[in-house]
């Protein structure tokens, strides 16, 4: 057995774990691992499974799982908070539109998505279709009919009555008195121009485009009807309340912090274990170097 010759007083091991005839060093170093590859000495080498390293392994497992768990917790909090803030406002009791804003007022930023109660008269002649609106992944149109708030001829608020896949699918515009509940939304305006100003299709819910279709003033807001009439699907809200965005962001950043800590703990552990299990560079100077074997000190297989 070529690998079993003794070199410089320590036992070389190949193929199977062997121990020296004398018992020195066996107890502390252990023989786990090191069964393959080039001949290695057992002296001074700590196994990665040595009892004194078990504490390090345990500490690593605890801190990495704690950091991961806390990160997930913060991430969930981030998601939940965002969700909660949205639902909070959209499920408030509806308030009369006229309590929140007048027809000349700017949009009340804190009321995005708030349910409002709109009473007035439909302006069927002002009906338009807003193109490029998706619902469940299908491209379609919003059907928008203004409501003169408080009665005929008074300033009107555009109401998104619902969504249709094509303009031809839209039911005829209603007329007469109306009392509806919907979500308050700020009007859009990214500068996209109406490619065809003469038809009833506009690219955005924008006052400058809508005003061409009515004879009265318009509120600087629109309302998405909560209960569309037959033939219409409730439109998805374009602007959701974002009051909680910053608080949510904080949780998100905390989550990342925790995960970074987890990675760092993993790195420290890796370094520690590597340092502890590394073979001494110079066998000659270690205390583990035996004083020299007796000529009859033949290696014995451990299973013998």
């Amino acid at each position: 057995m070529r690998g079993s010759t003794t070199v410089r007083g320590s036992t070389t091991v190949r193929g199977s774990a062997t121990v020296r005839g004398s018992a020195t060093g066996c107890g502390s170093t252990g023989v786990t691992g090191w069964t393959t590859g080039a001949p290695r000495t057992l002296e001074g080498v700590t196994s990665a499974f040595a009892p004194r390293l078990l504490a390090a392994h345990a500490a690593m497992l605890v801190s990495v799982s704690a950091a991961t768990g806390l990160g997930v917790w913060q991430y969930d909090a981030y998601q939940a908070r965002k969700q909660a803030e949205r639902i909070d406002l959209t499920q408030e009791t509806p308030r009369p539109l006229t309590d929140l804003m007048g027809s000349d007022d700017p949009f009340p930023g804190a009321d995005v998505g708030r349910p409002v109660d709109v009473r007035g008269t439909w302006v069927p002649t002002g009906t338009v279709f807003v193109s490029g609106r998706e619902h469940d992944g299908v491209d379609g149109f919003w059907v928008v009919t203004p409501v003169a708030v408080g009665g005929e001829g008074r300033p009107a608020v555009p109401v998104v009555r619902g969504w249709v896949p094509t303009v031809a699918d839209a039911p005829p515009a209603p007329s007469g008195e109306v009392d509806l509940v919907g979500s308050l939304q700020p009007t859009e305006g990214t500068g996209e121009t109406d490619p065809n100003p003469d038809d009833d299709v506009i690219p955005q819910v924008r006052i400058a485009d809508l005003i061409q279709h009515v004879d009265q003033d318009l509120y600087s807001a629109y309302v998405v009807d909560d209960t569309p009439s037959a033939g219409l699907v409730k439109a998805d809200l374009a602007a959701l309340p974002d009051s909680g965005r910053f608080t949510g962001l904080r949780n998100f950043l905390y989550a990342i912090e925790w995960w970074l800590f987890g990675l760092f703990a993993l790195y420290i552990w890796g370094r520690f274990v590597r340092d502890e299990t590394r073979e001494p560079d110079d066998l000659g100077d270690g205390t583990a170097t035996p004083s020299g074997p007796a000529p009859d000190d033949h290696p014995v297989p451990s299973n013998a």
């Binding site: 904080r250 905390y254 912090e257 760092f264 420290i268 520690f272």
Partner: protein, 111 residues
């Protein structure tokens, strides 16, 4: 002065101060009745936790590099790490680290 040593000291100071402000904010936020102006201030100051967290990460990495260079044990590093989490402790630990470094590794203190 050695750049690493200075970085460590500055970070320790910043982390320590942020930790104190954060603790103060928590006391104001939870200790006072809802809505009072000091309680609101506490809620606003809450933000320092976020800043503390990120600077603390940098502090921990710098502390780790420093312990490696000084060939200090892992428990010593653990103490420096925990010092950034217990209000006030970091000032004492920082002074101790500085003293130990001057004594054992003057080359790490001077440039």
């Amino acid at each position: 002065m050695n750049r690493l040593f200075v970085t460590y000291r500055v970070l320790a100071l910043v982390v320590g101060v942020l930790l104190l402000v954060g603790t103060l904010s928590a006391v104001l936020k939870y200790g006072l009745s809802e809505g009072s102006s000091l309680q609101t201030l506490g809620e606003r100051l809450d933000l320092v936790w976020l800043v503390h967290g990120w600077i603390y990460i940098v502090y921990v990495v710098v502390a780790f590099v420093l312990t490696q260079k000084a060939r200090w044990s892992l428990p010593q590093f653990g103490l420096m790490m925990i010092a950034g989490l217990i209000p006030g402790l970091i000032f004492w630990v920082e002074a101790r680290v500085a003293a130990r470094l001057r004594e054992q590794h003057p080359e790490l203190v001077r440039a």
